[in-house]
Subunit: 289 residues, 2 copies
């Protein structure tokens, strides 16, 4: 199999071509139309074998997840996904692996009416880099630096589910990117982030970017039954959203989520277990400690 | 050094912020403004240790080249570069390596008034994936599928210089992406490609995409003095442009380039050495043969 044959067989598959894709896979770059009045969102994320997944991880899950972690970043900005590029480094040609990887990737891509518009294939130790593009109306993108004193702090879903899976050395959950929730928050939330580094680390990013502090109530955080609270809120790879909403807009939230605390003027993050202030050491996922 | 510290120290350096960058590095995605009336071009390319460079290759050159190969793709489309994302997989923290890599990357970035708007850092076997975005006015992008019977075939620069370097196991030349030439060709060329897989392979991409054939004159091809013609035109990694121009627009070309042949109706590529039709076996760079 040559590079071109692999792209043709596994990645240049029939897609429902989006009208904004003038020219997709097959030239030196894709040609695209940006909708007027919208802002473009661009992000990228990489999965590396033995760092983000194991050699025995189901390739369908790897394909799905390589796109899902990127969509989670778009979700955190309130964006509607549009296009993806896929850079695949493969150690060898393996028909079965590529068939399943491709199925996982394209199944998620189709759920959001996205198009794969380009990419790259190279030989080397297995890793997958995906870039995604999405759109949001001007001034409606959700950012980390917008939290205001008095905002209530919310999270979607349960915290620590992915971490529980990692500890048990199982394959990953196929996470659901919170695209729908991000879009719903566009005119409601003051700030938003996805919980990829752990709740405490990511909430701290919001606080630092917004120059505010917060308190949270440990017992209110919805955690996976298998985990201690500490493990749940410091473990990474969750991909739920953490966001802040002013009091007068809380009634506009139209999806399930949990209020876990409130933004305060005093810097720093104070964690209460019922009425008691506690301290937690580990602050989330770090590659190069 | 944590992931955040590395990004802060080596990659979130002071840039002349482009007015189209609403929000750059530091959130879940970059927020960008696309200029009205322009089409967006997106592409990505990966360099992998032991495949595209060696462990002893100067990190400045790796940083420069990881962006340059992507700019070459934008050049082949006639695009003006705007933004880049950088996904870096590092086996370990190395201050000296990162300092030099970053210098090579940003020096080239600045030459084109581009901004680094985001990226990703992960632990694993060394590889670098860069994505670039550029713009071109509607209907002016250069494509592979536009070659017409009677077009003259041109190349920029000398063919096979990069291949000569590879054979000699030296570090790479710091290639100059042909951005200026690509932009100049917007209203002149019928088709264009960058020579990353070797002249014969890449010209064949144009012929197949355009449903035409061609003849070229081997003795007219400007090759590196160190190389045989065969090695020069089948070796990859050149990053010169190969393009086709109709007879009535040849006088509009305002930069150095060499005419090497002509597009014909009969499919296939015929190579002449002076008057003699010859055959050449190897058709360029393939990762998974």
């Amino acid at each position: 199999m040559t590079e071109f044959n692999i792209i043709e067989k596994y990645f240049n598959i029939k897609q429902n071509k989006r009208p904004d894709v003038v020219l997709g896979i097959g030239d030196d770059a894709a040609i695209l139309e940006c909708p007027p009045g919208q802002q473009l969102l661009l992000t990228t994320d990489t999965l590396v074998e033995n760092t983000h997944f194991f050699s025995y991880t189901d390739p369908y899950t790897i394909g799905y997840r390589s796109l899902a972690v990127n969509l989670s970043d778009l979700a955190a900005m309130g964006a509607t996904p549009a296009w993806a590029l896929l850079s695949l480094v493969l150690s060898e040609f393996n028909d079965d692996w590529l068939t399943n990887f491709s199925a996982g990737f394209f199944n998620l891509l189709k759920q959001y009416q996205m198009n794969l518009i380009g990419g790259n294939l190279a030989k080397g130790p297995l890793s997958i880099t995906v870039q995604v593009a999405g759109f949001v109306s001007k001034h409606q993108a959700l950012v980390r630096h917008g939290a205001k004193v008095g905002d209530y702090i919310f999270v979607t879903g349960k915290i620590g589910e992915a971490h529980a899976e990692l500890i048990n050395h199982q394959s990953f959950l196929t996470i659901t990117p919170r695209i729908k929730e991000g879009i719903a928050l566009r005119t409601i939330a003051h700030s938003c982030i996805d919980i990829s580094d752990g709740l405490l680390a990511d909430l701290t990013h919001i606080l630092e970017a917004s120059h505010v502090g917060a308190h949270i109530q440990l017992e209110k955080i919805p955690v996976s039954a298998e985990l201690s609270w500490e493990a749940a809120i410091t473990g990474g790879e969750d991909y739920e959203l953490c966001f802040t909403v002013p009091e007068n807009k809380i009634n506009l939230i139209n999806f399930d989520c949990t209020c876990i605390g409130r933004i305060e003027a005093k810097s720093g993050l104070r964690i209460f277990n019922h009425e008691k202030l506690i301290s937690i050491e580990k602050q989330g996922w770090q590659h190069f400690c």
